[in-house]
């Protein structure tokens, strides 16, 4: 199975914090699964999100990553990619840089609630703006 969507830290936070935005993330995961594909979550996005979440919110993200039989998979930051990603000049957070790199690697759309963070570096159609 291939990674069709890369989910960034903003999407993880939106899911964890519940409310209306979390539904878009849930619908996205369900749709991707129905197409027998995967949602990739860059490991640095998990770290970025966890740093801003409460314990309960972290628990929700953990359940999503661990208890769904691999629908959402954590994408590791490999040693040979680290320096290349670290040198991305225009991105504020390493999670953004890692997400963009994974989006290119897998030719997957990048799902986010913060499309402006990637606007200059990804084509508009490569970004799935979940805030819409």
């Amino acid at each position: 199975m291939t990674v069709h969507i890369v989910l960034d830290g903003s999407a993880l936070r939106a899911y964890a914090e519940l409310g209306t935005p979390s539904l878009a993330v849930a619908e996205l995961l369900t749709s991707v699964n129905e197409n027998e594909a995967l949602v990739g979550v860059p490991s640095t996005c998990v770290l970025d999100a966890f740093a801003q979440l409460t314990k309960d919110e972290q628990q929700r993200v953990e359940e999503l990553l661990v208890n769904t039989d691999g629908v959402a998979v954590v994408l590791p930051l490999l040693a040979e990619e680290t320096l290349r990603i670290a040198k991305e000049p225009s991105l504020a957070e390493m999670g953004h840089a890692h997400a963009m790199a994974e989006s290119r690697t897998h030719e997957a759309m990048l799902a986010t609630f913060d499309p402006a963070a990637y606007g200059a570096d990804l084509d508009e159609d490569d970004i799935l703006d979940l805030s819409q």
Binding site: I5, L23, A26, E27, V32, E34, E63, M109, D125, L128
Partner: protein, 111 residues
């Protein structure tokens, strides 16, 4: 023992036994399988008749359903209700956007 075996069994059977043993020892260890006999409605039967490997097809379908059920359970525990309409809308959106992406790539490759 080998002499007795050679005397008792035709050569072809011994070769067959040796071949099966080599095959089993060299083949990667597989997950255990269990056979089921199931009854399905006619429309499902027609679909399965058109499939070359029914076991693989059914296994994939069950695993897909299991993942979908696990997702629903997790979402339900988190108080999120996903509807078929919502998923269908997201699927359409993804398909439309993917079409645009592919059209852009084709243009870029053609240029």
């Amino acid at each position: 023992m080998v002499t007795a075996l050679l005397a008792a069994e035709p050569a072809s059977m011994i070769l067959s036994y040796l071949w099966r043993t080599i095959f089993l020892l060299s083949y990667p260890r597989r997950m255990a399988v269990k056979k089921y006999s199931i009854s399905v409605p006619e429309d499902v039967a027609e679909q399965l008749d058109s499939v070359s490997n029914v076991s693989e097809y059914v296994t994939t379908a069950v695993r897909l359903r299991r993942r979908g059920d696990l997702l629903k359970e997790v979402f339900s525990r988190h108080g999120i209700t996903v509807t078929p309409e919502g998923v269908a809308s997201m699927s359409r959106r993804l398909a439309d956007q993917q079409t645009r992406r592919e059209a852009r790539r084709n243009r870029q490759q053609g240029a």
